[in-house]
């Protein structure tokens, strides 16, 4: 079968214009932990933006974001700040 590598390897084939200064994603660690929603972000995100750190906090690799908004759609109130990257930044699809 066709082997396309890990999700990270697949994302590396995409074109991104990274906003070096600002992340467009911010997890409220306290609320996320209390509501257990961090694990849901990890599972649901197709770009593997979220990861569970050894201390239980949620790591965010915002550079990989495909800007679908799925995490925000399932986030409990207050657990996540998420908006689109600033104009011209983020994913630039070539196929779509």
């Amino acid at each position: 079968m066709a082997n396309f590598g890990s999700i990270v390897e697949r994302l590396n084939g995409n074109i991104y214009h990274l906003d070096e200064e600002e992340s467009h994603i911010e997890v409220n660690q306290e609320i996320a932990k209390k509501m257990g929603v961090g694990k849901l972000f990890v599972r649901i995100c197709p770009a593997h933006v979220y990861s569970e750190e050894t201390d239980g906090s949620i790591g965010v690799s915002y550079a990989a974001c495909l800007e679908c908004g799925t995490c925000l759609a399932v986030a409990t109130p207050g657990s996540l700040k998420w908006h689109y990257p600033k104009g011209g930044c983020g994913i630039a699809f070539r196929e779509g």
Partner: protein, 431 residues
């Protein structure tokens, strides 16, 4: 930015935004379209089948000029189980004349539409993210991007399924997870000849698979596979409430789909051209029933919820174009009468309701509830395979009549007669 007041500001360069802008510019209005991506299309992703007849009303030479991939003449409905698949393979030459549906890749299509807009006089402003809307009293009068303000007589929100602008203004609610689904998709490159041989299509003809069952591992949703000119679009669509409840991982489901013995050969030796995802809708009709206008403001396409899954066809792009035509007509009228009040904007809803765009939303309003039935994502596909297995598996026991075979398979399944009656009744009423 200066104090110039445009006739129309369109937020978002997808099909809905571009078609509205094009129509209004053609009618002689001054239109600016603001797109947050580096160009119109760069943030856009669709599964890829466009029921394209509506586009020929807007661009008579659409099929000749636009970068469409293949004309869909073969539709395959596939019930996928872990170790079996039952397909309905429907090919029809009539679907090629007139051409009814085409596969598209949005970055290419939207760039073409954007060019058409510019030819018609639309000012395209890429690389700008609109942060908020400007309001005077009840009236929407412009947009704010960073420190810059831009004013217009009417604003069109064509900012896609998330439509944060409408949410931030309290015009539309945050959508329920059961209304939404995430699509995970890859575009896989294959030589033209391989596609023709593998999918038994000729020339520009193509195939669309709608797949249900093991492709989503019991999560409500489905899989799709569409042939492009020299690539395959393949993916899964997962309803958010369902994947949340099942405790599954989106990328694991997607990869298991690609590795499924019935699917893997279809993409064998392919080269990954792009890995992407996008949020889409499971319950468009419920979202379209929410507010779609305010004084000086109209909401169009995915931002207003215009997507329908009928089980066999998934339609969004044709609704985007259809709703754009209704919006353009409403605004053209408002500009002529210099009336941008709520009652002038209400013409949009009337326009929708008088065409298939609004009527189809009503026809399929119960379909999403039907698709919540978990039996659709496992039991029925397995039952079909079990019936065929009993027909084709000759194990030297005496044969039974077909009725007995079907009843036997049904009794051996986990389905109950009451389920079957309920699902058949509800399905017939909803679809």
């Amino acid at each position: 930015m200066d104090e110039e007041i445009f006739d129309v500001i369109v937020v978002g360069g997808g099909i809905a935004g571009l078609v509205s802008a094009y129509q209004l510019a053609k009618s002689g209005h001054e239109v600016v379209l603001i797109e947050r991506g580096v160009e119109a299309g760069s943030k856009n992703l669709s599964g890829g089948v466009f029921y394209s007849r509506i586009m020929e009303e807007i661009f008579p030479d659409f099929l000749k000029e636009a970068p469409v991939e293949r004309h869909i003449t073969r539709n395959i409905i596939s019930f996928l189980n872990q170790t079996s698949a039952v397909n309905i393979d429907y090919w029809d030459q009539r679907l090629a004349d007139p051409i009814n549906a085409v596969s598209v890749l949005r970055v290419k299509l939207d760039a073409w539409l954007s060019g058409k807009c510019e030819e018609a006089g639309v000012m395209i402003m890429p690389g700008v993210r609109v942060d908020s809307l400007l309001k005077e009293g009840d009236q929407y009068v412009g947009v704010k991007a960073g420190e810059d303000e831009l004013r217009a007589k009417v604003i069109i929100l064509a900012d896609g399924v998330n439509s944060f602008l409408a949410q931030d203004e309290g015009i539309r609610p945050k959508q329920l997870p059961k209304y939404l689904a995430v699509g995970v998709k890859s575009v896989i490159g294959l030589p033209r000849k391989v596609i023709e041989d593998r999918f038994r299509v000729r020339g520009n003809e193509g195939v669309a698979y709608a797949i249900v069952g093991d492709c989503t591992k019991s999560v409500a949703g489905g899989g799709f596979l569409y042939t492009n000119s020299e690539s395959i679009s393949i993916g899964v669509v997962l309803q958010l409430e369902s994947i949340e409840k099942k405790g599954l991982t989106s990328t694991v489901i997607f990869d298991q789909f690609l590795e499924h013995p019935a699917i893997a050969p279809l993409i064998a030796d392919g080269e990954l051209l792009e890995y992407g995802c996008h949020l889409t809708m499971e319950d468009g009709p419920a979202m379209v029933a929410q507010e779609v206008s305010r004084p000086g403001l109209l909401i169009v396409g995915d931002a207003a919820g215009f997507t329908v899954n009928t089980g066999l066809t998934i339609r969004g792009m044709d609704f985007a174009a259809g709703s754009a035509l209704a919006v353009a007509k409403t605004i053209d009228n408002a500009l002529k009468n210099k009336d941008f009040s709520q009652s002038a904007m209400n013409m949009y809803r009337m326009e929708l309701d008088s065409h298939w765009v609004g009527q189809d939303m009503k026809t399929y309003k119960n379909a999403p509830a039907f698709f919540e039935t978990s039996r659709l994502y496992g039991d029925y596909g397995q039952l079909l395979a079990d019936i065929f297995y009993r027909i084709f598996h000759h194990d030297l026991t005496p044969r039974k009549r077909l009725t007995s075979v079907v009843l036997g398979a049904f009794k051996a399944s986990s389905l109950k007669v009451t389920n079957l009656i309920r699902d058949a009744f509800f399905g017939l009423k909803s679809l």
